[in-house]
């Protein structure tokens, strides 16, 4: 299990580091919202899910896409705006999708995928499927009316959904305290009539364990939403490849305890060095290969501008 977790964590971290490195070359001509420091949430949740389960995420979606098994080559190609990208170069980093493995799409408008996830879960229930949906969103999305409406609907209809609030304390540069009188997101969810808990410490194993329990309960017939507020921290700037502790809205000292909770390091330390090396080598090879794939892929044809507006009969 640790190997599997480590591979996923390490892979996400390294992919994003490579994105940050390559970003200065302007080959990726679109905004990137990195998850570095927050990988544990996506990995912990997705390890508790199966291939037939479904996730919906946000513009900060690289980690989720990869953790759920999204195709790495198609993701990098998408960032490069290539025709081989998971959205044919039309979506970019903020609109990743890989329906083969249940990554159902991300959105650049905060909060918009929460009701989509709820609707998907409603359909699963109606059709008697045994899958669950996980809906990822940030602490900022909690401010939006659609959060409230979606919680209410999910609790009312007892749908098979896991809500995952990645609370990294910030919406862009605004601290949660500047947007919410009480910092009690899990409680806000509970009041709609669903189990809700806060998971501290950015702890991938704990997240996995708690979510796994929720998923199993749902699968064994105890339908209805579960809510997890996962405390984590964004190491990089809101958007872009750099750190931003000099910007003034937060201090490096605030981040430091979170650097110590680095789950890549933690899980890596659990492994024996050889196994670890092997994983890392494989991942590095895969990443190299994915970037090469992206580099060598063609841009979309001009006519592609006009395709994909409607599905033809």
């Amino acid at each position: 299990m640790y190997e599997k977790f480590y591979r996923s964590l390490y892979r996400i971290r390294r992919v994003e580091e490579e994105i940050a490195r390559i970003y200065t070359t302007d080959k990726i001509k679109s905004p990137v919202h990195l998850s570095i420091g927050q990988e544990a949430v996506s990995v912990g949740v997705c390890e508790a899910l199966g291939r037939d389960d479904i996730v919906f995420g946000t513009y900060r979606g690289h980690a989720l896409y990869l953790a759920k098994g999204g195709d790495l080559r198609k993701m990098i190609a998408e960032l490069y705006g290539k025709a081989t990208g998971c959205a044919k170069g039309k979506g970019g980093s903020m609109h990743l999708i890989d329906t083969d493995v249940g990554v159902m799409g991300m959105s650049a408008v905060v909060g918009t995928t929460i009701p989509l996830a709820a609707g998907y879960a409603y359909a699963l229930k109606l059709r008697g499927k045994n899958s669950v949906v996980a809906s990822f969103f940030g602490d900022g999305a909690v401010d939006e009316g659609v959060f409230h409406e979606s919680m209410n609907f999910a609790a009312l209809k007892k749908i098979p959904i896991i809500f995952v609030c990645e609370n990294n304390f910030y919406s862009i540069h605004s601290h949660q305290r500047a947007r919410q009188a009480l910092c009690n997101i899990a409680e806000r969810a509970r009041v709609y009539g669903m189990p809700a808990e806060r998971i501290d410490g950015n702890d991938v194993l704990r997240i996995y364990e708690r979510v796994m329990k929720g998923v199993q309960e749902i699968r064994s017939g105890s339908l209805g939403p579960r809510f997890f507020e996962c405390m984590t921290y964004r190491w990089m700037e809101h958007v872009g490849p750099n750190e931003d502790f000099e910007a003034g809205y937060r201090l490096r000292s605030e981040a430091e305890p979170w650097f110590e909770k680095d789950q890549v390091k933690r899980l890596g330390d659990f492994l024996d060095p050889e196994a670890r090396q092997m994983i890392e080598d494989e991942v590095e090879g895969e990443i190299r290969e994915a970037f090469e794939f992206a580099e060598q892929s063609p841009f979309p044809d001009d006519v592609d501008l006009y395709t994909d507006t409607f599905k033809e009969a």
Binding site: I54, L124, L126, F153, F310
Partner: protein, 348 residues
């Protein structure tokens, strides 16, 4: 023997038949399951298909639109009903940013087969916030199909087509058309999108009526025959895609066009029709055009101002007369309040 149904009954029948045929079709919206049954259009459906496929929703237009879209992503075909189009303003983000764009921004990986039934309110002092016709909003943004049939026959066929379409379709109904009666076959059939319907043949002027205004144009056409004017009446039926060819063909013959919308004129469908026809005819033929719609103010409640606010058959006939006589002669028929407005005691 003609089988006569009202427009509302035609909608109900289309829904029932498609729900029976296809278990993935679901119906949701505030009040779809109550005894008023959205003006009767959803009557009996919860009894027949059960509360999982037919359900009332919380007052959450934004999220419920997202829920419909999400369910569509999972393979269902939701029909989401709004008893007033005004409330759709709460769902614009989901409709414009997700439904319209989903397929494109995910490079064709998904499709969003939802139908949004948006009903335009009118009469009995519905006033500022229960009377809006915002269809131009949905036409402006690529990715949504928009239909606004005016006859019971087209209502049934268009709704079935909308449900079977793999894309988001805005299905625009006008409260005052729900009472229209007409022939509706019992069998299921579809009306193709993008084909206008000629409701009356004529030579002197082309009247294009959007939604309920097609009915008023037909009434105007009858009034005009009394003064020797032969008007062709066209109902575009579908607003996106739009059958400009049909209108262009008619205007080529008549040389004159009056577009009547059940909405404001500015940046509305009537502007688009006039702009497209102008672009098309500028090299070949001189045509005369005019637009008619809501007066450029908020809808008032009191009846005498409401009467001034809305286009009607009298105003249409009068404007057509003037257009045909090149602004040189004027005539106004006496106004007869149509039964649907005279008898309505809304809001339900």
């Amino acid at each position: 023997m003609e089988r006569i149904l009202t427009y509302a009954e035609a909608i109900r029948e289309a829904t029932e038949q498609e729900m029976a045929r296809d278990p993935t079709v679901i119906l949701l919206g505030i009040g779809v399951d109550d005894f008023k049954a959205i003006y009767g259009t959803t009557k009996g459906l919860i009894e027949k298909f059960g509360p999982e496929r037919v359900f009332d929703t919380p007052l959450s237009e934004d999220a419920m639109t997202g829920v419909a879209i999400g369910a569509a992503l999972a393979g269902l075909r939701p029909i989401h009903v709004h008893i007033r189009m005004d409330f759709v303003l709460l769902a614009m983000n989901q409709l414009v940013n997700i439904a319209a764009k989903g397929r494109y921004m995910y490079g064709g990986a998904v499709s969003v087969p939802i139908v949004v039934r948006a009903i335009i309110g009118r009469s009995w002092g519905q006033g500022a916030q229960h009377s809006q016709s915002l269809h131009s909003y949905f036409i402006h943004v690529p990715g949504l199909k928009v239909v606004a049939p005016s006859t019971p026959y087209d209502a049934k066929g268009c709704l079935i087509k909308s449900i079977r379409d793999d894309n988001p379709v805005m299905f625009i109904e006008h409260r005052m058309i729900h009472y229209q009666k007409g022939h509706v076959p019992e069998s299921t059939y579809t009306i193709p999108f993008g084909k206008a319907r000629v409701l009356a043949k004529g030579d002197d002027i082309t009247l294009v009526g959007i939604s309920y205004m097609a009915v008023e144009c037909l009434r105007a056409q009858k009034l005009l025959t009394e003064v020797g004017i032969s008007a062709e009446v066209i109902d575009p039926v579908s607003l996106n895609p739009f059958d400009l060819d049909a209108i262009a063909g008619s205007v080529r013959k008549t040389g004159r066009l009056l577009v009547v919308d059940t909405a404001w004129v500015t940046c509305g469908v009537s502007a688009e029709v006039v702009a497209q026809l102008t672009e098309r005819f500028q090299d070949s033929q001189q045509i005369r055009v005019q637009r008619m719609g809501f007066k450029p103010v908020t809808c008032p409640t009191t009846k005498n101002l409401e009467d001034l606010f809305y286009p009607n058959s009298q105003k249409i006939a009068s404007a057509a007369y003037t257009l045909v006589h090149n602004n040189r002669k004027f005539w106004t028929p006496t106004h007869v309040e149509p039964p649907e407005i005279m008898e309505f005691r809304g809001p339900f």
